[in-house]
Structure formats: C-alpha cells, structure tokens
Subunit: 276 residues, 6 copies
C-alpha cells in the first residue's frame, strides 16, 4: 500500500462522515475525557486492514495509543479481541464508524479471497483480482486480496496491457494489435490477449503474446487451450468464477484465475468496537 | 445527489483507473475512430446510477452522445438494453470499467433495498440505510437506497443526533445526555436515543426524545417497547436485520428499520457494455 | 470546530498572504534569530479564537512555544496581555497578520453576540446565528457565536429543513411542502416553516411542523403568533434584528431569535501583537 | 480579479453551504421547474460583485440566464432592481444565500471605501486598503476597494516590501534593513519603511527609501513629516483612520492613506433576492 | 498524454505565474480589446507540444481561436510560423510565457531525442527515456520523447520492475530477487535486471529474466553480453550515453538504449510569440 | 523558499514517480531492513537543494537520519561525499530518483548562474533570472539562482510591472502605459519598461519610469542607452545572453543582466546515491 494514498483515503472518509462536526459527541462527551476500547470479531474471518483501522484514529489524534493482538492475514475467531485502543473518548467515538467501515470491507475481501485460494489448493493456479474494485479504494482492496492469499492483476490501465475483443477489432486483428502494443507501450510490460475461442488462442500464440486470457470458456475448451498453449504463454481463466467453477478451472492447468467477485461482491465481516 | 460532489468522485475514480494513460487503447485504437456501445443487463435488477454511468464518459469527452431506455428505479430484465452510447471509440473503451463499477454497485444496493422494502410491505415501516457505507461513495450509495424504495438516515455525524450507550455513559445518563444535546446542538435536529432495554426506553421517554432506536432487541421486547412508546416518539429498529427479521420487526409496529447490509454487503449486479 | 477543516482554512489563509515568500522578513531577519511576542487587547471585548491564533504559528513552525493568559469566552480589558509566544522571529513576523485577522474577526463576532445575549437576558429567548456568514469561514464564525453565548442554527442546507415562501409556492402550499419534507428528508431533522402572517402560522400548526419562524413580523403580531402556537412548536423570530428589536421580540415569548448581523456585520476588535 | 481564483472561492463557498445537498429544496421543488428572480437593493449603496453573484448560479448550472441593470461602481438606491435571473427554480433557491453573502460583503466594502474617498476629496490623497482582509477572500475584497474608488496596497507578503519596527530592530537599524532589502529582493519592488517619529523619517530618507509610512502619527507631526520628505518619497499615513482623521490627514499633503476598516469592519449591505 | 493530468499541470503553471493577477496587462490593456498573435520558430527544431500550448490559452478563455500550420513531430525551420491565435488581447499576453515555457521545453526534448534516434539509425536499437524527468512534468516529457522518435521506459515505480544492485543485495542475490518479484508483482510486468558484469548477466539469464540492462559497460563487454544473451532476453544499454557512445552501443546489437539526458539536460528551443 | 509550497512540490513529485507503489522494492526489500547511503558528486559543481533532497526522504519517512558535509552555495568536487543518510532501506530506494532529479536540476542552475556571475565579475552588473522557468518549480529554480550568486527578477505577473511592446501599443504609447500602471497598480511596485531603441529609452525616461530594460540591443547601442539614462533609472540588459555577450553587456555599465538560459537550459549535474 502506498502510504500517502491511504492517508488521503482516510482523510476523505473522515471528512465525509464528520461533516462540520460530530454533534452528538460534542454535546455529550467532555473533550478532556479519556477512554479505552476493544475491537472484537463478531464472526470468524481473515483479518485485513488493522493498520488502516488504527490510522483513522491517529489521523484524528496522534496521541491515541493501542496494542495489537492480531495482524493482517491471521484467521480470527468469533469473540476474539483484535486490538485495544486508548485515547480521548471523543476521538474514539468519532472515528469508530469510518475505521470499522474500512476494516470490515477489507477483511471481507481477504476472507472471500481465502475461500477461493482454498478452493484451488493442490493446483498451480493463483487467484487474481480484477479492476472491478470500489472506486477510490483500489489500493486497499488489492492489498486485501494479497492478505487473503491472492495475487494482484494490473492495478489500472497504465500498468498492464490487456488486449480485448474491441481492441482487436479496432487494430484489425490479433497480430496487428500485438504489433501496435509492442511499438507503443514500454518494453517492461508483458502483452496479454483475451481469447474467446481456440482460434483466438492460436492467433495469440502466433503473435507471440506472453499471456493468454481464456474468457468465459467452458472447462472442456479450457483444457484444450491449456494443452495448445503449453509453455508458450501464461494462461489466465476469467469469467463468472464461482468457487466451484474456479476449482474446476484450476484443475485444467491454467496458471491464473481472475475473480471479479473478490472485490465487487464480498460481504463485509462483522466487527464491533466497544468502549470499556 | 450533490452534483459537484459526484463529479469529484468520478474524476478520482478515473484518475485511479487510468493512471498515466490507457496504454492498450492508446496502442490499438485510432484516436479519431468513432464507436457505439450498448449497455446490457446480464441479470434482472433495479437500475440505479445511469446518470453517473453517463457522466463518466462525459467527463472524459463531452461530445459523447447517448440514448436512454431505462431510468433509475425501473426493474430491468436479463438481456435488456439499458442505454446506448456513441462517441470516440477510445473514450468508450477507457471509461467502461469505472462506469460499470459505479452503476453495478449502485444497482446492487437498489436491488437489495427493494427486497427489504417488499419484505415489510403491508406495514408502516420504512427501510432505512445507515452510515455503514463505502468510504468516499456515501452520496451515491444513499441515493441508491432511495432508488430502491428505502429512506435515508442521517448522512453523517453533523446532521443528526444519535445518542448511543457510550454517549449516555459519558454524559451521566440518558436525561443528562438529552439535556446536553438540547443545549449544544441546533434546534433543527431531532434527538434520537439508542435503547437496549425497556428501562432505557422509559428513560428516553422521560427525557422527551423524539426518536427511540431499539437496538438488537428480540421481537417480543420490541413489541413491548412499541406499545410503551405509543405516539410519543418515532421508533427505529436496528441490528442484524435479515430479510426475515426485518419482516417480523415491521409487524411490531416500528416506524423505521435500519439495515447496514444495504450498503456494506450488497453484491454488485451484472451489467455489460458491448461495443457494436 | 472540526479540526481538519480549521487546519485547511489556516493553510489557505497563509498561502494567500505569504504568496511565494515574505520578502521583507527574508531580507531583514536572520532565519536563526529567536523572538518573543505579546498579544495585547487594544480595547475591551469577548475573546474568541485564541487556539486558531496559535495554530497559525504552529502551522508555520511546530516549535513555536506559548503561554496563554485568557481563553475563549472571557471578557478581556483594554491593555491586557492575552498570551505570549516564543519562537523563530521570522515565523512570528510572517504569521502575525493572518493570526490577527482570524482572531480579531472571531472576537468581534463573540462580542456582538454577547451584546445580543445581554439584550434578551431575563427572557427564555436564545440568540441564534444564520447562514449569513463569510464564505469559507462558517465553522469559525458559528463557533464564535457560541463563545459569545449564542446558539447555532443549522450549519448549511443539508442539515436542517427550513421551508420558505418559495418552497411553499413550489410545493403547492404549506401542508404539501411539509408532507414532501417528511417523505424526502431524514427523520432525524425537524421541520421548520417560515411564516409571514398569522394565517401562515395556522397552516403550519395544522401541518404539524416542529418549528415556526416568524419572519419580519411586528411585535404585536409576534405576540399573537406566540399565543397561537403555545407549546405546539418552537418559535423563532427573524428579520432585521437590532439590539432593541431583539429585546422586544424576546419579551413576546419566542424561543429563538436569529440575527444575521452577528456574522455579516460584526466589526473586528482591535488586537495587537508586539515583538519584545 | 483572477478568474481561476474566484472560481475556487465560489466552489468552496457552495460546498460549505450545500454540504451533501439542499434537502428542503430537494423535497419541495420539482427538479424540472423553472423560475425567475429579481435582485433588489434594500438600502442605498455602491454595488460591487454582481459578476461574482452571477457566477455562483452559473457554477451550479451553466444554463441560468440573466439580465443586468446595474454594474459594479454604480450607486444603487433602495428598491432598485439590480438584475434578474431565470433558470431552474431549484438552482435559484440553492445558490441564493452564497451569492448574496458574497455581493453584500463586497458592496459593503465598496460603500465604505466610497465614504472615505469622499472624505478626502479635494486633496491628492488616495485611499488604500491593507492586508486586514477576510482570510480566503482577499482577491474579492481588494477588488471591491477599487470599485469604491480606493487603491490597493500590496496584495501580500511577497509582492511588496514594508519594513516595520521589528524588521528594523532585527536588521540593526533602518539603513541596514534597507541595504538588506535591496540585496535580497527583486529590483522591481519599491522599499517602504514604517516610521513612528520624525527621527525615523530622517533615517528613512537617509537610506533612500521610496515610500515612507507615517504610523499612528498625530496630525501636527504628520505635517512636519510631509514637509521634511518633500518629493523624496511617497508618503503613506496609517493607523486608526476614522473618516474624520482621514480627512485631516489628507490635508497634510500625504499621498496615501491606508484604512484597515475598509475590509475588516465594513458592514454588509442589505440586498434581497425574490423569486417571482 | 492523459488529458486530465495535463489540464492540472496547465492550471498549476498558470497559477504559479499569474499569482493574484497580471498587473501590467490589467493596467495597460482594455479587457474588451481583441488581438492576434503568430508563433514563430527562432531556430530549427522538432515541434512538440503545440496542443499544450493552445490549451494554456483555452484554459484562460475558451473563446480563443487558432489555426495550426505545424504539428508535433514535424521539423520546423527558423522563421516559420507554427500557428496563429486570435482572442482577447489580455489573454494572449497573460498566457504567453507559460505556453512558451511548456512548448519550448517539450520541443527541446523532441529535438534532442531526434538527434539520438538519428545517431543509431541503421541499427535495431530503440532510444528510450528514463525516470530522470522534471518533477511534475513527466507525462509531457515522456510524450515529447515519443514525438522525437524515441520510446518510453516505465513511467514510474509502479508500472515496471527494474531490479538494481541494491535490490539484489537486499534480496540475497539475483535469483532470489527474481523469485521475489515473480511472487509479489502482477504477472503483467516483465522483469528487468541491471547487470554490471558478465557474471551478472549470466546470473540474470539463469533466473529467466525477460530484460537485461547493461549498466555502464564498455563497448567491448557490451558486445560479449549481447552475444551471451542472444534471444533469451531483451538487452538495454544504459549509462552516460553521449551521442557517440549511443551510436557505438547500438552497433553491438542491443535492443534498447536509455538516455537520461533526453529529459534532464535538453536545452529549450527558441520560439517567440508576436502580437500583430 | 516558501516551505509549504516546497512540501507540495515534493509530494506531487513522489506521487508522480511512485504511482500506486514501488513494486520492485516491495518485492525485494524487507520493510524492516535498515540501510545507509552516501550522496556523491560525479563532477564538480555548485551545490543547491540539499535540503530539498533530504525533505524528499523525510516526506516518505520522518525517521530518516542524515549528516550533511556540504551546503548550498559550496563548490563541490568530483568524488566528494555531499551527505549521508540512514533509515529504512526501502525508503532510501524509493525516494532516490525524485530526490536526485530535484537536486541535480537545482545544482545545474546554480552552477550555470555561477558561470555568468564570474563572467561579469569586476563590473557592477547583477545576473538576474527570468520567468522562463520550469512550470511548477519556479520557487526552487529562483532559489537556485540566488545560490549561484544571481538575483531574482519578479516572481510572476502579479509582483512586478514590466511594460512590453504589446502593452505599450495597447495603451497608446509609453507615456500612456506608465500613467495607466501608476493608476492601476500598487504603489509598492516600481515600473519597468522594455525598450528596443534609443527613442524608446527617451520616451521611458520622459515618463519617469524607475527601470529600463534594453531588449536585444547590440553593445554599442547599449552603451549609448546607459549614458542617456545615467542615474535616472536602473538599467537591465536582456536578450540571448551568452556568457560572452553578458560579459560585454556588463562592461557597458548596465545594472542588471537577465538570462533566460539560467533556468530553461541549464543541464543537470551528475550526482549519485550509493547504498552502502
């Protein structure tokens, strides 16, 4: 995670939630009162984002103190205390919701990723994220995927080449598109082409691409594609990857399985923060 | 939705995704090529966010043209064409992912809200959102809740008073907290108190609050609380509201049912954009 | 006051004043020279904003040291030393004007508010501010009103409902406007309606609003309105509130008196900062 | 006025006032309803800021139409219609307060400046503003001073040299301070020195400064200083300039009279906007 | 070039130069006066940045009109008219310096790049830029390199893997560093390793890297390295690349030659803008 | 240098270079590993910007430690160690390029300025910079000029009056332009007029300007102009100032010589940072 970027996300989230001030806390809580809080798992999950959680409070008041029992990547159980905080009571109350919103979402993503990783265990396939992330939170969500044992696909449009059907059509075929990409883009990027049929795969191989994405292929076709490609390129399977479909795809020998649901549909996990 | 705010969300989302440039499109697509695209529902759902979807492309290039078949709040069926776009092909390709990420999420929220609204139909209860929204996207997500037939709770900490257990403890009891809130906060805000027991409810009534939140009460206790409160205050039920629990709670006569899952756990709906 | 917001105001004010650098101080003052300064009241007033004053210097250099003799809300006399600062001489000189501009304005508002509060003493009326604040400084100016013993009206358009004549006309009458507001806005907000006549007041009462604003009414009509309303709603008097008119209005039994002049026309008080 | 700067001021002011949305207007006004409004002077004053007023509405919606009867610098009478607007009714209602806040303040400054200009008429003295402006609004307030017939002093610390007592002390005397300024600062800036006594004036003349500020001098001493200086430097009088004191100072022959009250204590003028 | 990014660069550059206003133009030029200008090459060079040049004026005033004689990548001769502009005279004068500063720098880079490209003509070597760009202007400078016939290396630290000596030392050798990179970074990125000796090259080949950078090697060693590598990886030569050294390096058969001087030391070309 | 401004430049430069993260360092370097680095001159030059260099690392991590051997304005020799840093190894690697880019450019400017200063030594002429700076970096580049012994011309369009041919034409002659400037601009600014002929010089003298710029005059004409002007105004020579031409111009007796090349064409000096 890029620290400066995360800091901006937190500041914006606090501004969004606090508006011109937390009126309830302002009314009820002595600004000099101190408090302590425990953060408790209300269900079992893979923890992700505890540092972001803490950073929310430290952004409000750098004097907040804390002790951490569990760190990112660990499997926490229902009822476990993840960490404890101590500091101005008003700060603990004002920051609670934003901190939880972030860590619950990130842990939800790590937990779902972990399920996919376990679904493909015993194969060589890596679970990948996609660009189907929450606008504004990509850096956190892609980090949460790695916490859950997954891997990151390209971050955005500028750090990876993924030639899709429309690019192919615009360029005049797979070969032409690949030539254009070699000419236009930095040599530091591999070229990946999205293929819907075995003919596409053959064309991509002919163009010498380094990665072939099998888009929405059934398992039988996938197997043939994997065989066809051999060691000539990395193979990524993509498209409506349920846990079951991912497990089947993994067994075909693909190297990579990308799953949009990791970030667009992971339910938040349940965490609570109790003032003691 | 506040237009200036939405415009900033879109710009930030595009910057996040595009980085220093869409290299694949830059390589493969003639900058002068024009294209058209159709946006298709891949499943049935309640549409929300079509204007945001369009605004993404208009932010990249104000010359993009469009025709709209379906608007927010309508139930679209699998296979339906939601809208069509025409403009520079490169713009259509570069903006696609961000536009879909936003509309898929918003429609997911509207669709889940609609389920809750139907679950409580025939009662007087309104379905409410919470502050458990995605950091940075609250304005869009709260809008999507209204599209789905729900109502908004306070936007953030500055435009509503919600006195919770910690505030009560800090102020020295419900009565003291309510007095402090009346003294400190604008007279334009109602006072809501979170109650966990019937004794809490009695204390809140004694303090003359305008809204009582029944927090994590079982249905039997809820019924007693509703009876106790009568017309003296609005009653909000809250806490782990599954569809089933919401339906039961609604029948107790509460006025409002708040559901965090509307925004923190709604799965994205499936929409695709096809270049023609 | 929301700390992050205030910090942005201070940074912007310093950028505005300093431009690309304080050339006079740069020329004349050794960057390593230390200095001390006293801040002196040049007239009597209610102090507001000493923390903002200090924050200006701390923004330029966190090493600036200070001791405070007087805090917000205290009545200072001509010639009194409000606080003392010690730190890099260049920092003291460069920050002086911005710091004074802010504290002089805030203290001016607190001092004028105090006059209104004293004018209505012995009645139940609270003195309120309005949205007639200096663009960009609302958070500071509304805080200064509370320092002077006043109360805040809604902060802005999103955290309060105030139905005015144009809203009533657009909605098709008071009753329709109130119904629309109940449907559209969060339940956490009370509904206030601006009334120019006793008939308006009756209509507002009929619609069950929680706050009635008597707009530009003469004292006699105001009295009738107060009687008519009784305990059914809070009553706010508004419109060209001189000190004398406010005193008269207060005696009619209104609950709230809003005064635009508190923030749009309070003269700055005179404070100086002397380097020792 | 620097257009980009003004545009930022307006956007920030709207964000401050609108927050996450104008809930009253959202509830009561059909988004498609059109309206017209007239802007009326409720007292006599010098108009300043009509373009800023319009820009507020155009920022919300570029389709707002208008016709202008009176422009900056004109003396408007009580009851006069300054301009008319036509556009979406919701936009007119949402932008009204911010637009008025800005134009009322600017016109207040122009009107007070005009009083000072008339007080010194028949002399050669120019009325100047100071850096005692509202933080964040300096560009608008300095413009308003020129609309009222006044002149601008330096904008901030980087575009003018004003050597004050503390600079002199730090540099080791007036001569040393002036030499340092000549060495350190661009040759495009004149050097001004603040003098409290006739001895100071002599030292400043000896150092060859181009502008001498007579700080808080009584009229008799001022006269002597003016005589002493002759044509060797421009002379600025400063310090607690009431209208009466300004008139007296002007008669001593000073070239410039700077008046902090123009911007720190000008009361807002009364303007209203009526929807027709 | 990413349009939104370029627009921010231009706005910042104008704010930096204009400050609170162009006082000379404000004083001397009637705001309603129109003017025309021609942009003339004062020496021969490769043009780059004419669109940025125009965008500066369009940012100040969208009504500025223009006709373009020469576009990016063309070789212009001394005395040629590159384009003509028409619009408000004040806008032409105020924008001139910023517009020229940008286009002169960009054309300087394109012109120097062209010299390197011609120096290696007849070989297969591509001329590459580096990250030694002007902070804040990378997107423009990398674009200018392509205009001059060069190619872009990675944009920044997030879109390319370049394992240098310190990374190797930290990871515990070339093989370990490459394994770590395969594990940690997106599969869309190729891995490049910086090699100072032939032994380094062998280790890199053994680790299966896709690109080998020969860092500061003499021509003889470079030749051996190229032979050693064959088709197993792309070869980049780097380090103090004068035109002469680049020509020699190109003849060794390297694929890529990166030249920091393209962006850190290209002198600006001489262009003038004449108001007619 | 304005500290807040410099801090923004550094943050933007880091964001530009780091993007969403330094993937190579992230892969290869243990986040807890510490390292030390020496910064070495690879050629002789005048050092400028060592504080900016350090600030880059401190922005990434305030715990970075350092010791400084050489400060701005000193002449360093090839091979000298300028400073040493110690801190997290990852921070040292990630910040290296941005820090070097800034200090190499600033030192390049100081070094070139020093050459000009030495070329005019023995005369009274000062070497000045211009507004031909790198967009976004003006504050750093103008500072580097002073480090090299030069002086700053106006920072931008708002803190100096420079009446050029187009302003003269627009105003209707030199006299009219000067009168307009005296009326419109703060009295704290001197008036400078650009003259191309001796007749222009005479007109400028007649108008009583304080500074006369001799624009692109040959040395013989320059001499005549200097004689004509005498002590009536400061004289600045400008236009294609090579080192040789500057030396000749200086001998004519001009006070100031402005050199665009100082900032638009100074080659970066060669500095390296070695991790130990």
């Amino acid at each position: 995670m890029d620290g400066m970027n995360v800091s901006d996300i937190i500041k914006a989230a606090l501004a969004e939630d606090i508006g011109h001030g937390d009126v309830t806390t302002g009314a009820c809580v002595d600004p000099d009162a101190e408090g302590t809080a425990v953060v408790i798992a209300k269900e079992g999950f893979i923890l992700a984002g505890y540092e972001v959680f803490l950073e929310v409070f430290l952004t409000l008041d750098p004097s907040v103190d804390f002790s951490v029992n569990r760190v990112d990547g660990e499997r926490v159980k229902k009822g476990e205390v993840i960490m404890e905080l101590a500091g101005p009571l008003a700060t603990l109350l004002t920051g609670e919701r934003v901190a939880l919103n972030l860590m619950q979402r990130m842990s939800g993503i790590a937990t779902l990723t972990d399920k996919y990783v376990r679904a493909v265990s015993g194969t060589n396939a890596r679970i990948l994220d996609t660009r189907k992330t929450t606008p504004g939170l990509r850096v956190l969500e892609k980090y949460a995927v790695t916490v859950g044992g997954g891997y990151n696909h390209r971050f955005g449009l500028s750090d990876g080449i993924l030639i899709k059907d429309n690019h192919i059509a615009a360029a005049g075929g797979i070969a032409a598109a690949v030539i254009a990409a070699r000419e236009y883009t930095p040599h530091t990027l591999r070229i990946e082409v999205e293929c819907e049929t075995l003919d596409d795969v053959k064309a991509a191989l002919g163009a010498g691409v380094e990665i072939i994405m099998l888009d929405n292929m059934d398992v039988a076709t996938m197997k043939k594609a994997v065989k066809l490609i051999g060691d000539s390129a990395l193979v990524e399977a993509s498209g409506n990857m349920t846990l079951k479909h991912a497990a089947e795809a993994a067994k075909t020998g693909v190297d990579l399985i990308s799953v949009g649901a990791l970030t667009h549909s992971a339910p938040a996990v349940d965490i609570s923060m109790k003032i003691m």
